[in-house]
Symmetry: C2
Subunit: 457 residues, 2 copies
């Protein structure tokens, strides 16, 4: 990033060659250096867009974003907004002829108002940074995607990110009260409100959440903060099979217990972490509660039914260790394709079992980790070695998993979104009428089709 | 309703006179009897639409709704969807040339799936009936608008209804997972999902929630149910002034306590209920928690700071009695205009105090009840006697209250919606860019402008 060329000098021959005179004229810092482009053209999906973007803009202010989008509209240049690039769907991958709008530099926490229970942030704020800043006031930002130390609030909002504790505290959507959005032509739109409640007009805020940068660019967000719990209890229970573990998570709900998180690891995952765990059980359920000791004791009692062993701890880390080791362990076996489906909670065990059948059918290894509290499964397909082409068998297994999700009354994405990779599956899930309406909504906000084209729909 | 004319007989002279041959041909039960029309042309806002609707349709099935909307599109007949007619904004008032679509007959709870934590209902189900049905499974439907014994789920969803316990458990929006919607031309759209989590495509579900019947007609909803709490504790604390009461509600948040409800009654309200209460204090804060006894004790301790008196009870009814008496007591003083604004929680005391100034300026009586947990105030303006014209002073006081909400960084409606009465205030709050986008969204779904025209925007 040595070559920011944001001064107002006349367009150079190289800018002209790249067709970026307009970007140079905005005065917004930008670069067309190959290494800068290379570091910002992909996300974590493994999807390779055709060609490379022409340049990367580094806005520092709302005015910068407006200038870039105005220039992009005038020149019909596709713009790919980007936070940390942690999307797993191709949503932030940028192809030929586009300009990447890197919002990671707009990373100020503008305001934390403890008495109001809200924070106002720029889109490039790292999710965990906001959570830590809120903690200083006895509050927290509840949504906690696994990427929270890397990913940005803007990206979280653009994908309606989930996480572990959304079982109790909701997904990103539930935390967003209002936003400032730069529209495709550079106009600045304010949506929502600064209050905890409000119903004035259509819910534009909700429409932008999860729209993957295809309707507008988030330049600030007003977010709900919640009280930090006084204490948590964590329970790890091993079961002889995944059916018992899934049944235990349903039993919690039937016992009127709302856990903060309920993470299920199947046998293939346990084997990947440590084959020695097989002696402990074939499925692990990790549950956290943040109520009183009676709630924790009640939860442990419920989980004990059918369990091989149950451990309870006030320190969550030892018991969450296996969960945190899941992805790194699977990555040691090869490159994981991180899939993401959700099913009605009662179908969780059936889903895990049938994913095992799919793995056998295609002769691929699939390890499944699930947010059991809300029926959200992440089957991790071990797809060859890192850097090698993705085997056809892994792709076919993925397709079978999406078909399974729909067959069980679920959805092809619980929390990662559509991006590029799941567009055909969105079409199957939503159907032609819904998809047509969504395209018409896109046209209202982005009539020129320059905002992250080819994504989300 | 003695004259359902839903059989397929040829259109009569009276139908022809009303221009309703098309409705008769649908085979859907309907009536054009004056008393039937009279009982369904108004809501509870006091707003009188110009003229009367031509008829009322009583659909029993999704196919009925589709037939009515198809016929309405063909004949360009405005359709006003209606649940129980409890709107306070004119949203369900129907004027000249329109047909009322009375959905109260579609009132079946189609499914309750405790293991999945969801219910599927028709739009005419009474909110409290669903909550009671869920309770049989140890669950509840959390949103609890004050009208819950009268109002329907369809109406709740169409207005994104709030309530008391949404301070902790969210508003209607947070409970709606998916819907079936009949579009303006009669097509049937499915939105959302049956799972607790899902992010496939734009959030059409959220767009329909709160759209007041202007984008489509809800014919079923898949709703999230939550565990019933094991026990609740209710605390009533009297304070010497409203500032202390509001400060106490903020102190709860700062003590990391998330009450289920936190209701504030100002002095004017207490005077209306019983002038003798003045000796207890000038403001009453009623708080309910549903955690453990330690949480309740902690909440009581926090509320004690600055309080004149504090009472705690495991039986909520005696302490909630004053809250429940507020509206009936004020109604004995005259016809209340029930206003509805929300402000940042830290501005609550200032809002109540300045509403008192507004009351004095216009020489009207205003009693304010607030959902203090989320900064949502209901100033009840005593506007002359029941049935008399609304005094100009009351209207001007209302306008000053809406302007105050905006000045304090709030919204002109926390939970009642826009309807007809607040359209000009929506325009001020949202601004021309947002309003233009909202009109364009309306045009996507209702290009002929026949769905509840003149409402919500």
């Amino acid at each position: 990033m040595s070559t920011f060329t944001g001064d107002h000098r006349p367009a150079s021959a190289r800018e002209a060659a790249a067709g970026l005179e307009w970007l140079a004229r905005t005065g917004v810092p930008w670069s067309a250096e190959p290494d800068v482009i290379a570091s910002r053209r992909l996300d974590r999906s493994g999807w390779e867009p055709p060609g490379s973007p022409s340049g990367v803009a580094f806005p520092r202010t709302v005015a910068d974003v407006r200038a870039v989008l105005k220039g992009a509209a005038e020149t019909r240049t596709p713009v790919v907004p980007r936070g940390a690039g942690t999307a797993l769907t191709g949503a932030s991958a940028a192809g030929s002829g586009s300009v990447v709008l890197d919002l990671s530099g707009m990373n100020r926490i503008l305001d934390i108002r403890p008495a109001d229970g809200v924070a106002v942030v720029e889109p490039g704020v790292i999710t965990a940074d906001l959570d830590r800043a809120a903690a200083a006031h006895g509050l927290r930002y509840a949504p906690d995607p696994a990427s929270l130390e890397l990913s940005t609030i803007g990206g979280n909002v653009a994908t309606n990110a989930g996480g572990l504790r959304c079982a109790k505290y909701g997904v990103t959507r539930d935390a967003v009260l209002g936003m400032e959005i730069v529209l495709a032509g550079g106009e600045l739109l304010t949506t929502g409100r600064a209050t905890l409640k409000g119903v004035a007009g259509y819910d534009l805020t909700g429409l932008f959440v999860g729209s993957e940068g295809t309707l507008g660019v988030i330049v600030s967000a007003t977010l709900r903060l919640r009280p930090l719990p006084a204490a948590t209890a964590t329970i790890a229970a091993y079961y002889p099979d995944v059916e018992s573990a899934a049944a235990a998570s349903v039993a919690l709900a039937e016992a009127r217990i709302q856990p903060v998180l309920a993470e299920l690891l199947d046998q293939a995952t346990l084997d990947a972490i440590d084959p020695g765990l097989r002696s402990a059980g074939s499925a692990l359920l990790i549950v956290q509660t943040d109520g009183d000791q009676a709630e924790a004791a009640h939860a442990a009692e419920v989980l004990r039914a059918g369990a091989v062993s149950v451990q309870v701890s006030e320190d969550p880390e030892p018991l969450l260790y296996a969960r945190r080791q899941a992805l790194p362990s699977i990555e040691r076996l090869g490159r994981p394709l991180i899939e993401d489906i959700a099913v009605p909670r009662s179908r969780l065990a059936e889903a895990v079992r049938r994913i095992g059948v799919i793995a056998a059918r295609h002769d691929v290894r699939i390890c499944t980790v699930a947010h059991a509290g809300d029926g959200n499964l992440h089957p991790l397909i071990v797809a060859g070695s890192h850097g090698s082409p993705i085997p056809e068998a892994a792709v076919r297994a993925g397709d079978d998993i999406f078909a399974l999700a729909l067959e069980l009354g679920g959805t092809v994405t619980g929390e990662h979104g559509i991006g590029v990779l799941k567009r055909q599956w969105l079409a199957r899930e939503a159907g032609p009428l819904s998809l047509d309406l969504q395209h018409r909504l896109k046209a209202v906000f982005d009539p020129l089709g320059i905002l992250n084209p080819g994504k989300a729909l």
